[in-house]
Symmetry: C2
Subunit: 167 residues, 2 copies
DNA sequence: TAATATCCGTTTGGTAGCAAACGAAATCGG
DNA sequence: CCGATTTCGTTTGCTACCAAACGGATATTA
């Protein structure tokens, strides 16, 4: 357990240790998990207020556009999977992106239950223009970290994703 | 830039490098940021499906209960701040918690614009019982990491929070 | 002290997100 | 074949979340 006066803690973290220090708790895990969540919120909010709002995109909309850019046209279920969204949510996101003219939905002739989603010309143009700027933002947001620290962070998180994701 | 065959990458990450490797992008930052978000989603979903659903709590509801437990009764604005929610969102969360009988709202006599939120007896009992179990979940979710890795992860994230949070 | 400005929590209007129910389409078993 | 089951994407009903508008209460200032 860390010392209460440890200068490397956020104010809130210090208070928590004061209040809960007497209990048998796993502080290391607690601080790791809560900071994952706080960091994600901070990162998402900053990106949405910064670059994404200029293009009228939410985080989910951006992710979807980006996945389609990298992977090419995809069937709806795979797209949901890759964007880490439920299929119901994806329907909504795609509907919004369609309204904005960024993606189109194409019925699959061989199996009429299925739908293929792909970028439109405007969608492609948008993501090509947007992503480099988004990437600059990403760089700023982790700008406090050295290159090797960024890789270390990504690697540690990767292991959390694997463990927590296999529910 | 990392080698394409690097075994320490998720499948999706490998594809991204194949597709975008030619561009001048900051991959280290990109992978760090996107893994922060993916990890947060995984962690939240697992906690909500696991412990929290048993108590009828969302992540936000749990956070609010927990903050009130650690900090004691708080004025609404401070509570929103500490929970990292907008004041409008907090109104809704508190309303739900009130309906569940976990918290109560008390008008402040000296300034009738203000409201104090505090745990009820049932709320206190709930969080006292819930948190140790939640903490076990946290331990599982980062169970792939050694104690010092957890601290390293928390520290790296802390620095991201400071940078990205100061928009 | 009266008019104005500021502050606080709530409400509003919107998107995002999930689980579960749904309906159409394909597949499987007999 | 044909009925039952499974597999798709969508819809439904709900909570969460934000920004901005709102309205009552307090502060400020003239």
């Amino acid at each position: 357990m860390q010392n209460r006066a440890d200068p490397r803690l956020l104010d809130a973290e210090r208070l928590i240790q004061e209040r809960l220090g007497g209990r048998r708790l796993d502080f290391d895990s607690m601080l790791a998990v809560s900071n994952i969540y706080r960091a994600a919120t901070a990162v998402r909010r900053r990106a949405e207020k910064g670059v994404l709002s200029e293009f009228g995109l939410s985080w989910g909309g951006f992710t979807t556009l980006w996945v389609l850019w990298v992977w090419g046209e995809m069937q709806s279920a795979d797209l949901a999977d890759e964007c880490d969204l439920s299929k119901g949510t994806l329907t909504g996101v795609v509907k919004t992106l369609e309204k904005q003219g960024f993606v189109k939905r194409t019925p699959v002739a061989a199996d009429r239950r299925k739908v293929t989603v792909s970028l439109t010309g405007a969608g492609l143009e948008t993501i090509e223009q947007l992503f480099p700027r988004f990437n600059l933002y990403e760089g700023e947001m982790v700008g406090n970290l050295s290159a090797s620290e960024k890789r270390e962070l990504a690697e540690l998180l990767r292991r959390v994703i694997v463990t927590a994701g296999s529910s």
